[in-house]
């Protein structure tokens, strides 16, 4: 075994350039495959962890996807608002640990404005149960205070102390601006890689205040009659309506029963969704693109391996002479066969190793950039089980491809014997 492999190794050294090029092409394709897989799985993890630790999201009755898109991604407008009383009633349920009220519908320079309270900063989690952190200032304390997501602050050049103006509606250009009620930036959040980065946080009272002044222009759910119709004591920091609220339960196992309770709530038609489940569903749609990418890079690996096949096949005729010499000193046809198959296998293995090395080199080099630009944190973790399987497939494919020239030289060596063909 060792004798044949040391021969194969010396044969490589003799063909440094062509073997080197083959290794490089396989390494590049392996890097691409693993890179795409890394980004794919990281994107999925990051996507499905856009919101974590929240057990239920409650909004006006609508489809789960619609509620998820509006309440988490701010991608579509909520169809209806829910009454503050409903929120109060449901959040006092004994199974509820905490709740975050959110109010949507306004924008600042195209970024969505989210009205909430201190509970958001205290309880909102993303990724692997990570809490929000401030990069400057603190969470808003006053009615006019605002906190900016990292991207908002960066793109618009706002700093703590800046004044911002909120527009009604979610379009980029809105004719209705709440100029009379500017907000002061009190804090800027650290980048999360989630929609939080593209959000302006203000107090619920602040949202209410701007709409109170603009009531005549406001037709979307902020019905003044409604406000008057509501009876009972009303604190200044309590709005009349909100868009949705997040719920954290004391016990996760209660999620389904609380969900049923919300769906059957008598006060008004409400929907509750399990964000983890809804996110998985949404990924099923979004993830198709990444699967296609992975398939394409799989084919690139196949092209790399075909390159190796071509390189070995073209060199085969020249090597018939070498094989006849080896036969004459006692090599069996099987030795000759394993020399070629072994060569294909070793080239593939070196290619894979180099590819993995390149992947980590690339990760080290681009990690900060990817983290800051895409919000994807590509960890320097070892190969995952799935990546090992992928590499195993590539390796086996390399050996299998080697069987083609191997069989050919095997037949040659049987036919040629020791005859040296020139």
């Amino acid at each position: 075994m060792t004798s044949i492999f040391s021969l194969a190794f010396k044969s490589f050294r003799n063909r440094k350039v062509s073997v080197g090029l083959t290794v490089v092409s396989i390494a590049l394709s392996v890097t691409l495959l693993l890179g795409v897989e890394r980004i794919r799985s990281e994107a999925q993890t990051s996507f499905t962890n856009t919101i974590s630790g929240t057990d239920l999201i409650v909004g006006a009755r609508t489809s789960p996807l619609q509620l998820l898109l509006s309440s988490v991604f701010g991608l579509s407008d909520a169809t209806n608002n829910i009454q503050w009383e409903s929120y109060e009633a449901l959040s006092k349920h004994p199974g509820v640990d905490w709740s975050i009220p959110i109010s949507l519908g306004d924008t600042h320079a195209g970024y969505r404005v989210l009205g909430t309270n201190g509970a958001y900063f205290d309880h909102f989690r993303y990724g692997p149960k990570q809490a929000l952190q401030m990069q400057a200032g603190g969470w808003f304390a006053s009615e006019e205070g605002a906190v900016l997501g990292a991207e908002v602050a960066e793109q618009l050049g706002h700093q703590v102390g800046s004044n911002i103006v909120v527009a009604h509606g979610s379009g980029d250009v809105s004719f209705v601006t709440h100029d009379a009620h500017p907000f002061h930036v009190e804090g800027i959040l650290v980048r999360t890689g989630t929609p939080v980065d593209r959000t302006v946080f203000v107090s619920l009272a602040g949202i209410d205040a701007i709409h109170a002044e603009m009531d005549p222009a406001d037709e979307q759910g902020h019905d003044p009659l409604n406000a008057h119709a509501v009876s009972g004591p009303h604190h200044a920091d309590e709005p009349k309506v909100i868009t949705a609220f997040y719920i954290g339960l004391k016990s996760r196992s209660a999620a389904l029963s609380v969900q049923r309770m919300v769906n059957e709530y008598k006060g008004e038609p409400l929907s509750a969704i399990l964000p983890a489940v809804a996110l998985q569903e949404l990924w099923g749609i979004v993830g198709m693109v990444e699967k296609a990418l992975l398939t394409v890079s799989g084919f690139v690996v196949l092209v790399g391996l075909s390159g190796m096949l071509v390189a070995i096949m073209t060199g085969l005729n020249e090597r018939r002479r070498e094989m006849a010499i080896l036969r004459s000193v006692g090599a069996r046809p099987l030795h000759v066969f394993s020399l070629i198959v072994g060569e294909a296998g070793v080239v593939t293995l070196i290619g894979i190793t180099a590819g993995i090395a390149m992947l980590y080199g690339l990760l080290i080099a681009t990690q900060p950039l990817i983290a800051s630009r895409l919000g994807l944190f590509l960890g320097m973790t070892g190969l995952s089980g799935y990546e090992f399987i992928l590499m195993g497939i590539v390796c086996v494919a390399g050996f299998v491809i080697g069987i083609i020239p191997g069989y050919r030289i095997y037949m040659y060596s049987l036919a040629d014997g020791m005859t040296i063909r020139v």
Binding site: M1, S3, I4, S6, L7, K10, S11, R13, N14, R15, R321, E322, A324, I325, L326, R327, S328, V329, G330, A331, R332, P333, L334, H335, S338, G417, M418, T419, I420, V422
Partner: protein, 264 residues
Amino acid sequence: MVACFQTAAPGKALRPAETRLDEQVRAVDISGLRFSWSVSSVPVLDIDSLQVDKGRRVFIEGPSGSGKSTLLALLAGIVKPRYGRITVLGQALDEMHGPARDRFRADHMGIIFQMFNLVPYLTVVENVTLPCRFSHRRRVKAMRSAGSVEAEARRLLTHLNLDHTDLLSRPVTELSVGQQQRVAAARALMGAPEIIIADEPTSSLDAAHRKDFIELLFEECRREDTTLVFVSHDTSLAPMFNRTLRLTQINRADSAAAGKRRPS
């Protein structure tokens, strides 16, 4: 996978059967041999009887197409006869299966070709020690002779007048044809196999080098009492040998048929 590399396994090569390789046993003993490349085609070789005693240097002469290469392939155990018996060193090659014949060749035979004898990516010494990669027996013999396989290779190369250090470090492709043939001879002699088969080893050399080469080869064969089977169409070399065989006389197969042995 492992099974096919058994040649290197210690103890395997020195089987009890080989102790019978005493002086009485002939180096080559062929009887009733008939060979054709396929069942239906006409035989290219039909030899009633051919014996070569141990330690002899035999010259087999024949024009191209007379079945020389076929006879050598049979002697080396690359192919099997369809009929008849071919015994080398007392072992019936016709009874052995392929891998056993390959191992037998590795252990007991040294082969020199007409040209392109050397593996281009190996150094001179690596080319010479190549048989020791496939034969444990020859490796042991070489080590016994000079202490190490490499030392034995250098000893043989020195005997064949290839002892310049700069020569040994040069790529084999840069050697002259005469030098390449001498490296090939050293390889064939490595580990003292009982039989050397040389297939037109001098046809690419000029007259002066030809004689030198054969004399050096003889000297080494004499030292180890090696049997030499030397095939050539060049009859001028015949007087240097103990015995000359004319293939056209011993091969009863139709030479016209022999010429057509590989239908195109």
